[in-house]
Symmetry: C2
């Protein structure tokens, strides 16, 4: 069940089948969609708006994020995007995007023209696409809870628990570790706390033996305790049919 595909169609069909049983026709329709594969360097904004021919995309490889810049110049990351995600489905219906989507590492993305997406809509994949959008929205809502109702230690633990579960769901966890090539500054921009305090929170988690973070490699040493510190309950991730071990139960 390890999925490490770099073929966008395979990636998407895996994702969609995780949501609903797809007929052969639907799979064919999916396979027939032209997808233009593009490589990007790290720290680039993925510009879609100015494209004369509006496109959505699926993230194939790498790590990306969406962020908004506040009036005072601070920036708030509103979502992390992992391979298989379709970050700008949200702005599909709107003419404009209200958040910037940017790569955090070198990324491969698969561009899909919006009119082709709409054809998929008509061809029975509406439910799957709806689910994808709704699952992203559910994560965003949980972020509201994270930022509004939890202190900095708890927030940090929650986000790491979430990322662990999502990485696991796409087969990006080896043992208890995954790669998270982001800076503490970026983490702070997502958690709404200062870099200095991110550092302190991580130190506490490390000292409590819950995680280790060396270079880009994050290890979840005690996922149950980490989830407890972060009040993490993974239901909101809505992994429809395939349940990763995201909801640890004390033995």
């Amino acid at each position: 069940m390890l999925v490490r595909v770099h073929d966008p169609v395979q990636l998407l069909s895996h994702k969609f089948r995780n949501i609903a049983e797809l007929s052969a026709e639907e799979l064919d329709a999916l396979a027939a969609v032209p997808i233009r594969v593009v490589s990007m360097a790290a720290d680039q904004s993925i510009v879609i708006q100015d494209d004369p021919d509006p496109q959505s995309f699926v993230l194939i490889q790498g790590l990306a994020c969406s962020f908004k810049v506040n009036g005072d110049g601070s920036r708030q990351i509103v979502a992390f995007h992992l391979p298989g995600d379709m970050p700008d489905l949200l702005s599909l219906g709107f003419g404009r995007a209200d958040a910037t989507i940017a790569t955090m590492t070198a990324c491969t993305i698969g561009l899909i023209r919006n009119d082709h997406l709409r054809e998929l809509f008509a061809k029975g994949l509406a439910v799957a696409l709806w689910h994808v959008l709704a699952a992203d929205a559910a994560i965003t809502r949980e972020w509201v809870v994270n930022l509004g109702a939890r202190n900095s230690l708890s927030r940090t633990a929650h986000l790491l628990s979430e990322l662990f579960a999502r990485m696991q769901a796409i087969g990006a966890v080896k043992g208890d570790s995954f790669e998270l090539p982001i800076t503490q500054q970026e983490l702070g921009d997502a958690l709404g706390i200062s870099v200095v305090h991110v550092n302190r929170s991580l130190k506490t988690l490390r000292m409590q033996g819950l995680i280790s973070w060396v270079g880009v490699k994050v290890s979840i040493l005690d996922r149950v305790a980490l989830a407890e510190v972060g009040s993490f309950v993974g239901d909101y991730l809505h992994f429809a049919r395939e349940k990763p071990n995201a909801l640890p139960v004390r033995k």
Copy 2:
């Protein structure tokens, strides 16, 4: 453009036409959907999960909210729902809801069976429904920014600006005032700050001459200044074709 309809079909067709031009057929399809109108008292959860026959609903009258309860017992309101909103579109694809939807005042809701919604999907209203879901998601994302990147005064100002704009869009603003029958406790649960501090923030806004709040009546005395304090830029509300005066410009 004042809309004060208590007929759910009219409410929805107004909302959808605000997004895309609908054909006569599409309007007919919408009008043909059976909607069961139900009245509810204040402070009730709107239970959909246990219904043997899963339904979504449109809020016709009143004020409602979605909230999640954190592990430590605190609750975080993740959305306010105004007339015309369809609060649980998000959980349509999922078997379960991960947030509680509750009335804050006496409400009238219009229940729509999910299979009827899916028919609308097939009948050309997919784009409109997609837009509704995406617009809600965009608001949630802005809430992430509000909670993560702004201090308590700014948060409060931003939320009031948002509610003013949304109230205005549904014709619920008279002059510079609208009715907001919620307690400071509830406001605090939405803003992620304590009741005491909500009170202090409101006091500051009042003393600066930006708002007045008497009983349930909120008046926005200086919407430009309020927007400035809250770093409010209403683009994210995605009022598609009808632009309320949500984006004040200094003269």
